[in-house]
Amino acid sequence: MLNFTIRRLVLSIPTLLFISLVIFLLLQLAPGDPMAQVPLTVPPEVKQKMREALGLGAPIHIQYIKWLQQFFVVEPSVFIDYLTNKSFLLGWLPDTQLSMTVDPVTGELVEKQRVISWQTRSPVMDIVIQRMPQTLWVVGLSYLVGILIAIPIGIYSAYRHYSLFDQAGTFITMVGFSIPPFFTGPLLIVIFSVSLGWLPSIYDTTLVVDSWATFKTQFLQMIMPVMVLALQTTAQISRYMRSAMLDNLNQDYVRTARAKGLKESVVVMVHVLRNSMIPVVTIIAMGMPAIFGGAIITENVFKVNGIGQLLLTALFANDLPMVMTLTFIFAILIVLFNLIADILYGVLDPRIRYD
């Protein structure tokens, strides 16, 4: 298994490099201009100067190599410097200055050029880190809530196959699956914010939870986005759970267990459930990168302003370094979680061996 993991990790390096090249070229080919949002009243000569200041004049391969160097060399060294200088965990280590370089003219220590966003003219990674908490809280929690609702529904639907509960569950999951969040989101806002006035329609990202009152505010503002997203997760995972349970319920070992005189609850909850979880766990693992990727539409509807909203605004503004970095981070996460899912599969099911 260790061999397999190492082999896969090594193989993922060329894969990721290839992905980064494809993303870069696709973005280059896409129509659009970072100056598109600048009003018509700004003359064309000024716009041209602004483009040059963004580094758009350089040849394409230079731009790509610069990005690679910034992403793979400068950004990790900034992170290491942070760890050794300021972090709580590793702050005792001697301070490093990997991300610093000596300015040839003045001889002073200056920071190396990081991946800079065209919209904000600031390092992309700082904004990504700033956005992480909102996204992890809202999207991550909705994933958890979705799983917690989906698994019991899936189990019971399979156990009482074609019962009223199963039919109703199927109906609701189909609805949840087919209705997009840009419909359910505003619908919930109109009901709970506009008509009833119970919940806020705009998420406050600056809220600091330090008392019961702020906890309640945080709870209230998270209900709607979390439920909208959880509906999607629930729909998807409960279907997988149901079909995995159905596959196992008719197996010989289930009949054996019942014949042994085991209680029905033990048969279903221990024997069948454990075996049915194998494919579901891998599905859950493969869905994890989506949490980090945020939920573009739902974040916008509720103004959660996490990673998804960041990607969307960057796309609208043609902020290529931001789009490139974000999509590439997603690519890394997907490759990584695919590997984790494969390993988990092997761990859960002893019949599966990769070596």
Partner: protein, 572 residues
């Protein structure tokens, strides 16, 4: 009206405003708690010189201030300056080649240090740096030098006479930066100063406490603000993101926010939201005009690429003034406005609809006259000889291709106008193109508005600030898009009239406001009612929304919408 009169009026208005509104909202700084503002486009940076986006300029205007601003009528008001320099008060030289500003006494940055002429001089250096890519570079074009005469006096010298010397350091586009904070951020180093670009030190009523790009900004009242009783609010929560409908809803329906910017929504949607009673939509008019541009050259696809839609080939139908006039007479502008913009639009016949000084009293196009239009076409020789309902002349049918960008309101307008023109026997073929292509300016594309491969086209445009000189100058002979200029150019109609150019030359050397107004109005009339080259339709306003509990809001389209946020207060 002279500049001085305008100024006196502005000063008088500000002086009387507190008296008029003195309903118990005066008091100490920060008495009214938090102000919640929502912009559906989130600000990315608070340095207006690195971003041309309106959202960024307006967010920065809470902190950074220029020497002078435009008020809601487009008049100039001093902010950091003692007064607006004019020729009369000696601030602008007689030959219009220099302007001398004086910073008012006792102006302080929010960190407590004094504002000096060195800061102003530095701001010019910052924006004029050749490698800086300054978004407001056009404000400093023609500036030869900026000198600090003494601690509080700055002299800007231009490379020639400049009848409108209020370009640098005026308005939301050109505020003053603190030299101490930005001195290491010149030119290519500008993006390295993230800390300064996100948390600029300013002189405005608020200071940045926390800036989260493309998300939210938190401001606090500036402890060193020049008026000890302002601002009334202690903190500002400036949320960004989402869409116009959600922003409108948060102010008008749920009351979560106090102010929402630029609600580009259908008039019935806004009216429906306003019924909830939590807020009121407010609107004001600037210079944005939705218009039909007439192609004076022949766009026929049968012509070779070198001459198609160029001055070498005059338009076979539209070169006749009577025909263009008939097309204008057939349009019911009031109906179009009601359908498309409601409260946020007014029918207009002017290319330059405002400020009042430059707006012509041209209103004759506002009445639809189908019969008159028909008579004019008959007079011009266009008759329906074959009885198919479409006029013709010398075997040519009166058929036009009408193009615009894809947008619900524009397609409604197209359908209505097609119907109006049908009533006078003109056949219209409609076409709409994606905005990013239509306005994109790609010389290889046949579908750009500059290339104008159609007979008539519709879009909106405006000008920055209050002076229309450059805007009117766009119709000068020879500035039309053509193959030799890679189809770049602003003279969309391919209009050319030596008398118009002569008048433009006169405008460029005239400094006296009264006279400038007169010339500008004449130029406007030459393009509209005298030649019917441009058929203005709607003067499009700006609609924002303010909570019913928010007082002191004066919507301003000439400067930042938040220009007078220091005077806002909570109604008790």
């Amino acid at each position: 009206m002279k500049m001085r009169t305008l100024l006196m009026g502005a000063i008088a208005t500000t002086a009387f405003a507190p008296v008029a509104f003195a309903d118990g909202h005066e008091g100490e700084r920060g008495r009214d708690g938090q102000l919640n503002i929502i912009y559906w486009q989130a600000p990315s940076i608070l340095n207006p010189f690195l971003s041309g986006g309106t959202k960024d300029l307006e967010a920065a205007s809470l902190v950074l201030e220029p020497l002078g601003r435009y008020d809601e009528n487009g008049a100039l008001v001093p902010f950091l300056a003692e007064e607006i320099p004019t020729v009369e008060n000696g601030g602008v030289s007689e030959d219009l080649t220099s302007i001398t500003w004086k910073i008012a006494e006792g102006m302080q940055w929010s960190d407590g240090t004094p504002v000096t002429s060195a800061d102003v001089k530095f701001t010019a250096e910052y924006c004029m740096h050749p490698e800086g890519g300054c978004a407001q570079g056009a404000k400093f074009s023609g500036v030869e030098s900026v000198e600090a005469v003494d601690e509080r006096t700055i002299k800007v010298t231009f490379d020639g006479p400049q009848p409108n010397p209020y370009q640098p350091f005026m308005g939301a586009q050109s505020p003053i930066l603190q030299m101490a904070q930005f001195k290491d951020c010149l030119g290519p180093k500008a993006p390295e100063c993230t800390e300064a670009n996100f948390n600029p030190i300013g002189t405005g009523p608020f200071v940045v406490k926390d800036f989260r790009p493309n998300d939210v900004i938190q401001f606090e009242a500036n402890p060193n603000y020049r008026d000890p009783s302002k601002p009334a609010f202690a903190t500002v929560n400036f949320k960004g993101g989402g869409d116009a409908a959600a922003a409108g809803r948060a102010v008008l329906e749920t009351g979560e926010f106090d102010y929402a910017w630029n609600l580009q929504l259908a008039p019935d949607v806004i009216a429906k939201m306003a019924e909830a009673g939590k807020g009121t939509p407010i609107s004001a008019f600037g210079t944005l005009v939705e218009r039909i541009e007439i192609n004076l050259t022949n766009p026929s696809p049968d012509l070779p690429a070198e001459t198609r839609s160029t001055i070498a080939e005059p338009h076979p139908i539209l070169s006749d003034f009577k025909v263009r006039k008939a097309l204008s007479m057939a349009i019911d502008r009031e109906l179009l406005t009601e359908v498309g913009y409601g409260q946020a639009g007014r029918a207009t016949c002017n290319f330059v609809p405002a400020p009042a000084l430059y707006a012509s009293d041209n209103t004759e196009c506002l009445t639809q006259d189908i019969e008159g239009a028909k008579a004019l076409l008959e007079e011009a020789g266009w008759t329906d000889t074959d009885g198919d309902g479409i006029r013709d002349k010398d075997g040519m049918k009166f058929s036009l291709l009408f193009q615009t960008s894809t947008n619900a309101v524009r397609q409604d307008f197209q359908a209505l106008i097609k119907d109006f023109w049908n009533q006078i026997g003109v056949e219209t073929e409609l076409r709409n193109l994606d905005g990013s292509v239509f306005f994109g300016g790609d010389p290889g594309s046949p579908d750009t508005f500059q290339k104008f491969y159609a007979d008539v086209e519709m879009y909106a445009n405006n000008f920055d600030g209050t002076d229309p000189q450059a805007y009117l100058g766009s119709r000068r002979c020879g500035t039309e898009p053509k193959p030799s200029s890679q189809w770049q150019g602003e003279n969309i109609n391919r209009f050319c009239d030596p008398a118009y150019d002569a008048l433009l030359d006169e405008l460029e050397t005239t400094g006296e406001l009264e006279k400038r107004g007169e010339i500008a109005r004449k130029l406007n009339d030459m393009l509209t009612k005298d030649t019917m080259t441009i058929l203005p339709l709607v003067d499009r306003g700006r609609v924002s929304a303010a909570s019913t509990t928010l007082g002191g809001v004066v919507l301003n389209v000439w400067d930042s919408e938040l220009w007078n946020v220091a005077d806002w207060y909570r109604k008790k």
